[in-house]
């Protein structure tokens, strides 16, 4: 064996590309050179630190205390003034960052996991009854009017605090699942998957070792998109009375402000919308840059 090996080594193409990089380091490189993406990530991190502070009890704790006068204006004590019953708008707006992250993270992570698993299974067994059932379920969930669905879940769960989260997860996973399914259908016809079959790798290992890791970029980008969608949806749901039950959120603040703005009190409205716009905008830009860096097919 060795004799032939040596002669081959002479003939073989041994020179390697000198640029050495993994797929992730390439993405990191691209992202680092994306100024807007880095700025956006910085802003998101600032928000995240604030949310962490609220969670640890460092600030934003006075959100429910009724202290000031009705509709008080900005002052040293109440930076953003007070609301209709004299609560501190600043503390409420800050506390809402935590609420937003809670909703965004819970919904994004769980719906992505669910979408990834179901989408991968559907795609891998494309055309089988498993696929048909998952497709049918996605079709069904997509065709129920969303706000009605949330309301229905809220009814069914009898006012359970997380019914909004559950409803969002139940609806948002279908988008991820469709994307993953499409990608898996493409991937499973790749020759490296056939090679795994030829070796005798069991199906579940093929899905989780060979196929799923190749969909990670979709999952990462998709979860940032769901994060934003969840925060934006919360606002509408809270306005409709279907949203956050305990605590305060930007949605509740804006809902509160609908009566105030026509009377000329903008504190609640401006505080909540500006903070929310900042986070959503930064996250959208971050998601964009992430996609540029990770998705080889993304055209810009």
């Amino acid at each position: 064996m060795s004799v032939a090996g040596e002669t081959l080594a002479g003939a073989g193409d041994l020179t390697l590309r000198k640029t050495r990089e993994s797929l992730w380091s390439k993405a990191r490189y691209k992202f680092r050179h994306d100024v807007w993406g880095m700025v956006a990530l910085g802003i998101v991190l600032v928000y995240f630190v604030i949310a962490l502070g609220v969670w640890l009890g460092i600030w934003g704790q006075g959100w429910s205390a009724v202290g000031g006068e009705k509709w008080g204006s900005m002052s040293a004590e109440y930076w953003f003034g007070t609301n209709i019953i004299g609560q501190d708008v600043y503390d409420r707006a800050i506390y809402s960052i935590k609420t937003a992250f809670e909703i965004g993270l819970v919904v994004a992570v769980l719906s992505t996991v669910m979408g990834a698993v179901l989408g991968a299974i559907a795609g891998f067994f494309q055309g089988s009854w498993t696929d048909e059932v998952i497709l049918w379920l996605m079709g069904v969930l997509d065709s129920i009017p969303f706000y009605l669905f949330v309301a229905a879940v809220a009814f069914a769960l009898g006012g359970y605090a997380y019914s909004m989260h559950l409803a969002m997860i139940a609806v948002f996973w279908t988008i991820t699942a469709r994307l993953v399914r499409g990608e898996v259908i493409k991937l499973k016809n790749f020759e490296f998957v056939e090679a795994a079959h030829a070796i005798g790798v069991p199906h579940f290992l093929i899905i989780f070792r060979h196929i799923m890791p190749n969909t990670l970029h979709i999952l990462l980008v998709q979860s940032t998109i769901v994060f934003v969608a969840a925060i934006k949806t919360e606002v509408i749901l809270s306005f409709l009375g279907l949203g956050v039950k305990d605590g305060v959120s930007w949605g509740l603040m804006i809902a509160e402000s609908t009566q105030e703005v026509l009377a000329g009190h903008f504190n609640n409205f401006v505080a909540a919308s500006v903070l929310m716009f900042g986070l959503v905008m930064a996250f959208n830009m971050f998601a964009d840059s992430l996609q540029d860096a990770l998705d080889p097919k993304k055209v810009s």
Binding site: A11, D13, L14, F192, A195, A198
Partner: protein, 327 residues
């Protein structure tokens, strides 16, 4: 081919039909990708399988390995059946048969290192203990002409030819007796093509592996094959010893294929036998001889009756042709 001894691989009446949907519940006429193919292959020999795109040659290779479940027919490898057996028995057979692919970019998982890729078959079939496996991978990489330093690299760091070598190392890992090489060099540049072809020839000599070498390129096939089979619309139309096929092609289709190859010698600009028309759809193949719609020597009988296989060689070296010209 017809030796007294048992051939390594026996394929009998293999068929692979793909169902076509005509309506929601009705089944249409199936696409006959592989239609009643039989051949034998001996240990350490190579059968070159040629044909144009869509003729079913890749499907045949995959059906033999049961990567596509055959519709009917029989495959026997090393005296044991491949078709019709349960998972456990198939896993045992999988150790003896492997495949090398065409596209060096799609055949390696981009998220796994060369080491992980080549080692996977050893893990799946629990060959040796983990330490031995590492050593085996090193030997395999050396065998295909790659340094062991490349083990922790990812596929995108390699050129097409190098990737193809990794794919070959993976196929060799389980010490198979039979390998399907599906257009292994057609995606490579000419100068790299010959490197890989030489590697395959060496492996065959040293390790006694039998190859089913699938290609659309008759020149490539000539270099590696002991026997050659020509496929058209899912059927083998001609099969025989390589020397006899190239020197004395019998089927008009084989003749046309050989004549169509551009000759890299400007002094001998030859007149090609140019076939008229295109390959018919395999969903709706012509009646009688499938080649009659394009055949320059077509007769009346060709349109009605399917030709039977006749031996134009001798008993020890059969040269089989399915054509009415010889019956």
């Amino acid at each position: 081919m017809m030796n007294e001894t048992q051939p390594l691989l026996t394929v009998r009446n293999l068929k692979k039909y793909f169902p076509m949907k005509a309506g929601m519940f009705r089944k249409g006429t199936p696409l006959k990708a592989v239609d009643d193919v039989s051949f034998d292959l001996e240990t350490g020999k190579t059968l070159g399988l040629v044909g144009e795109s869509g003729c079913g040659k890749s499907t045949l290779g995959r059906a033999i390995l049961r990567l596509h479940e055959p519709t009917s027919g029989e495959v026997i490898l090393d005296s044991k059946p491949v078709t019709g057996v349960k998972h456990g028995a198939l896993m045992l057979q999988r150790r003896k048969m492997q495949i090398i692919f065409q596209d060096p970019y799609a055949s390696l998982n981009p998220r796994r290192t060369v080491y992980q890729t080549v080692r996977e078959p050893l893990d799946i079939h629990k060959v040796g203990d983990p330490k031995e496996r590492r050593h085996t991978v090193e030997i395999l990489l050396e065998r295909v002409g790659l340094r062991r330093q490349v083990m922790d690299r990812y596929p995108h760091e390699f050129s097409g030819g190098q990737r193809q070598r990794v794919g070959i190392a993976r196929a060799l890992a389980l010490n198979p007796k039979f390998i399907v090489a599906d257009e292994p060099v057609s995606a490579l540049d000419v100068s790299v093509q010959s490197q890989v072809l030489n590697l395959i020839a060496d492996l065959q000599k040293d390790m006694g592996i039998a190859f089913l070498f699938i290609s659309h390129d008759l020149a490539v096939v000539q270099h590696v094959s002991d026997h050659v089979a020509v496929m058209y619309l899912g059927k083998l139309v001609e099969m025989g010893p390589a020397a006899s096929i190239y020197k004395d092609p019998r089927h008009p289709y084989t003749q046309a294929l050989l004549s169509a190859i551009p000759n890299p010698d400007p002094k001998h600009r030859k007149k090609h036998v140019v076939l008229s028309g295109d390959v018919p759809s395999p969903v709706n193949p012509p009646s009688g001889c499938p080649f009659h719609t394009r055949c320059p020597r077509v007769m009346d009988i060709c349109k009605k009756e399917t030709p039977v296989q006749t031996n134009q060689g001798n008993a020890t070296n059969p040269h089989l042709v399915s054509c009415h010209l010889y019956s």
